[in-house]
Every structure is written in C-alpha cells, then in structure tokens.
Symmetry: C2
Subunit: 324 residues, 2 copies
C-alpha cells in the first residue's frame, strides 16, 4: 500500500465539512480562511509509542487520544477548535491499523467539528504528531500568566485516574492484578480516551485568571502557572478530587502520588478570584463538568502540597520529565 | 537536562519578533493574529532519521532542512511565510545537538522572518515534524489542479543534485568514491541545505496555472498535477536542467534516473500558458532564479518521459514511496 493510498484512506474517514476550508488534503498545503476579528490559537503535541502510550494501545484509541491531547490544549486556552493536521509515522503501511486509527480520530473530530486539512505519512517507529487550530475573540484567550495572589485554584473532573490506569496496564505492584475488571477498565479508559474539556474552557474564558491542562502531572503543570504568573501555589492534598475507581484500586499513599504527580488526565487546572468561585462551579455544573477547589494562590513561588495540618508533603516524584 | 530547559534553549536561539504573534512559546498554545483579508496556508512535513536523512547529517543541517522542506511547500503555494511550530523527538537531551539544530533552523527562519511560536519535545528515535503557516491574497494560492492542455511545464534551478548527493553519501557504486571532493560537496549541499523557492513562488502566483515542489521525484510529483488537473504531461529528457556537478559525477543513464525519479531538490515544477513563458523566465531571472521549459501539458493522463525522437523512456523507478 502506497503513501498516497493511505492519505486517501484517512481523508475518506475524516470528512468534516467546513466553509472556512478553501482547500484541504491533497495539495502542497491547506488553504484556510480564519474568521475576521479573532485570534488564531495553534498547538501541537507528539505521542511516541512506548513513551506516551503503551504498545498495547489500540489503533482506534490512539487516533482518539492523539487528537484529544491536542484539543485539550485548545480547551486550556478557551479556544473553539476548527482545523487539524496529522503527521503519522508508521513502521509499515498496515491498512487495518490506519483504518482503525482514522476512525478513532474521526470520532472525536466529528464531535467537535474539526476538519483534518493536511498532514504527512512517513515510515519509522510509530509516532503521531497532531496540530490543532482554534479561534478565540481577540485578547480573550486563557493564559498561564494571569494568576494573582488570593485567587482560588480549581481542577475539573477527577485526577489521578489516567496514571492509575497506566499503573494497572504496567502491573507495577502485585496487588494491581487483583483489581476488579470494571474498576481497571474505568481507569484505563481515562488513560486511553481522554475527554478534552472544550466546553469548560469556553465557560472559563470569562472568569478564570489562568488555565492549563493537566498532562504532565498536577504539581508540575501548576508550577508553570506559578512561574509565569510570579506567584506561589498551595494545594490541600485532602481536596484533590478522586474517582470511586481510584479509591477502589489504590491506597491513600499510592493515590496521592498518582493524583499529584501522574499526568494524562487532561483536566483543566485554573485560578480565579474567590468571589467568582460559586458562579464558576454553577456554570461548569450546567455543562456537566464538575470543578473542585484544591488550593490557593499565595505570594512567593513554586507549588506546595499540604496535609490537613498545613504541613508540606514531600513527594518522590512531582511530574513527568521526558528526558529523566 | 529537562524538557523545559531544551525548550528555553530552542526559544532563545530562534528569536524572530513579529507583531502578529500575540503569545509565543510557553503556554498551552500560541496566540496569533492572521492579517485581515488573506488566506492562511498551512503545511507540515516530517523528517525521520534513516528515512528522510542519513544518520550522518549534522544537527545544524537537519535544523535547516526540517524548516526548508516545509517552507518549500509554502513556496509551491505562492505564500509568504510567517509562523512555524517544531515537534522534535530526540533519543536523549543532548545539549550540543539541540544548540546546533536550533542554530540551523534559526538561520533559515531569520532569513525569511519566520517566528517559531510553539512545538513539543519528546524522547524517542530522532524525528522532526515542522508546521509552517503563511499568507496569500484570497483565492490567489498556487494549486495543483489548474494545469490546462497546451500549457508549458517548467522547473526552477537544476534537478537530480540532491539524489546525486545521497548516492555519493551512500556510495552505492564504486566509481562514486572517485568523484572529486568539491563535486561531491556541491551535490551533498543540495541534499542537506535545500533552498525553499519562496521568491519564485511569489512571482509565479501571477502567472502559473499549477505548481508544486519536487520532493518525491519529478515524475511522481508532476503526476499529482496531472491527476488533479485531469491532464497528461510529456517531458523531454534532454531538456531537464542539469548542474555541472551532476554532469561531472554521473553518466547519462545514471543522471536521467536521478533527475526523473530522485527527490529532495525542492525546486518548483509548474505549468503556465505558452504566451507567458518569456515573461516568467524574465521575472524569475530578475530574482536570480533560473527556470527551464521541460515539457508540455497534453490531453490524457499520467506523465511520460520522452527521448529526442519522441519515444517513451521506461524508468525502473519513478519516485519515492515511503512504504515501498
């Protein structure tokens, strides 16, 4: 199967029509018409087999996830997604793999009306780079540098689940083999089918002072908000939102590491003034997205995790470093 | 060295300031302001070690080439480049490699005022995906689907050089070891430091009916123009523009394969009506870019390479297939 057949196959399965796509896949480049009077928001993320996903990941889940982690970046900016490009590196031109991958990608793309407008297919070890484009009203994007002392820190949904799912797949401890299959599946689903919080990001555009998505670990990611905003952040360990699956599968110490240092949940972590907290929780609840207050923005720098008595909890690992 | 230090290092070395970049590297996504009343042109290309470049390629040349092959796609559309993203996968966080890579990338980026606005660094086998964005007046981009029967077919510069350079590096035939070093270097330079024909693309926007860049091989690439335009193309082998280095290094049969089926020259191949030929050659000469008439658009389909007597020349290989 030749490269061009692969591209046709992907194109046929990812057919979202948009008026702002003048020319899609099939030329040297795509021709697009950005909406007048908006900022363009662009992000890219790469997933490498064995680094960002286990070799056991199905092609369909991989297609979903490669787009999801990128849309999550747009969510964190409060942007509305529009266009994607896909650079897919494959060890061989496996038709079944490409069909399944494209179907997983297309399922999420269709849901958010994202048009696949270009890309590249090459041979090599399995790796996926996706680029996404979205729009936001001028100067309204959510950034990392707006947190102010006194702001509350929030996170959507529950965290630690994806890292728990990865621990189940890797069977790092013997007791993980005894977890009920439905619990294990719920956690692995969070790892393999993350939900980009696009509706939440759009809601937060009007109220959050800083926002990002939790991909490398809560402490590590909030460290970026702290550094770019010139503030410190204190988190209360007992406040971290925990799913019933995570509760069922791990003891308290294990959970804390998964929640504070595990990545891949793709929830939004954000800051907002105290007087907007109730409105934010209400507005997010209206779109079916929970949000939990987990800490406070303080003077200083860095992110500290506190126990119930206010003492700092030292963790062996704070986040994901690709070159550790 | 951590991922974030790598990103800082790349950012520091690729500092092109542009007013249309609202927010560059360092957040979940870049925030950009496309110019009103223009189409946005977007393309991406991946280079994988051992597939698109030999392991012997220097980091600096790789940085240049990764951007060059992408800018070449914008050139083929007649677009003016503006922004780039860089997804870099590295086996380890080698500071010297990243510095050299960034310097090669930055050298070309500065020349064309391309701002690096985002990207991703991951660990894995060496692979580079670059995304480029450019602008073009509305409905004025050069496409592949506009060639008409009777048009002349042109190519800029000389072709076959990059494939000749690769043959020298791979030492496929014993006689390649005897090529004078300055001839070899001239060919390898075409492989490792391709020149995106941006100025030529801008000139051709007013006169070409179809255009693309020669990356996979002249016959294979022109096949896309033929297919998308619903025409056939006849090329005259004796007309293919040949550098003195290629003449010095290869015999006639070798040259023809390198020129017709070798890729990686990143010259522009285009079609235009006969009555514009003289003006095109003059306008391109004015910007220091040669162009040669190599054939004609005919009824039918496919691309045929003809000898001086008008007979078709059969080639063992017509172009590059990533999954062959």
């Amino acid at each position: 199967m030749a490269e061009f057949d692969l591209i046709d196959l992907i194109r046929a399965r990812c057919a979202v029509e948009r008026n702002d796509v003048r020319l899609g896949i099939g030329d040297d480049a795509a021709i697009l018409a950005p909406p007048p009077g908006h900022d363009l928001v662009v992000s890219t993320d790469t997933l490498v087999e064995g680094v960002h996903f286990p070799a056991s990941t199905s092609a369909r889940d991989l297609g979903w996830k490669a787009l999801a982690v990128n849309l999550s970046d747009l969510a964190a900016m409060g942007a509305t997604p529009a266009w994607a490009l896909l650079a897919l590196t494959l060890p061989n031109a496996d038709r079944a793999f490409v069909v399944d991958f494209a179907d997983g990608f297309a399922e999420l793309a269709a849901h958010h009306r994202v048009a696949l407008v270009g890309g590249d297919t090459t041979s090599g070890r399995l790796s996926v780079t996706v680029v996404v484009h979205g729009f936001v009203p001028p100067d309204r994007a959510l950034r990392r540098d707006g947190a102010r002392v006194g702001d509350q820190v929030f996170v959507t949904g529950t965290i630690g689940d994806a890292a728990g799912g990865l621990a189940c797949l890797e069977r790092r401890q013997p007791h993980l083999l005894e977890i009920p299959v439905e619990v294990r599946d719920a956690l692995v689903m969070r790892l393999e089918r993350p939900t980009p919080r696009l509706a939440a990001g759009a809601v937060l555009r009007d109220s959050a002072t800083a926002c990002l998505d939790v991909s490398d670990g809560l402490l590590a990611d909030l460290g970026h908000i702290a550094a770019r905003s010139g503030v410190g952040i204190e988190l209360v360990a007992d406040c971290l939102p925990t799913s019933s699956a995570l509760l069922a599968a791990f003891d308290e110490n294990e959970r804390l590491v998964l929640q504070a240092a595990g990545g891949d949940d793709y929830e939004l972590a954000f800051t907002a003034p105290l007087d907007r907290a109730t409105a934010i929780e209400r507005d997010l609840a209206r779109i079916g997205c929970g949000a939990t207050r987990i800490g406070t923005v303080v003077p200083g720098n860095g992110v500290r995790l506190l126990d119930a008595g206010g003492g700092e909890i030292a963790l062996a690992r704070r986040g994901w470093n690709h070159f550790a």
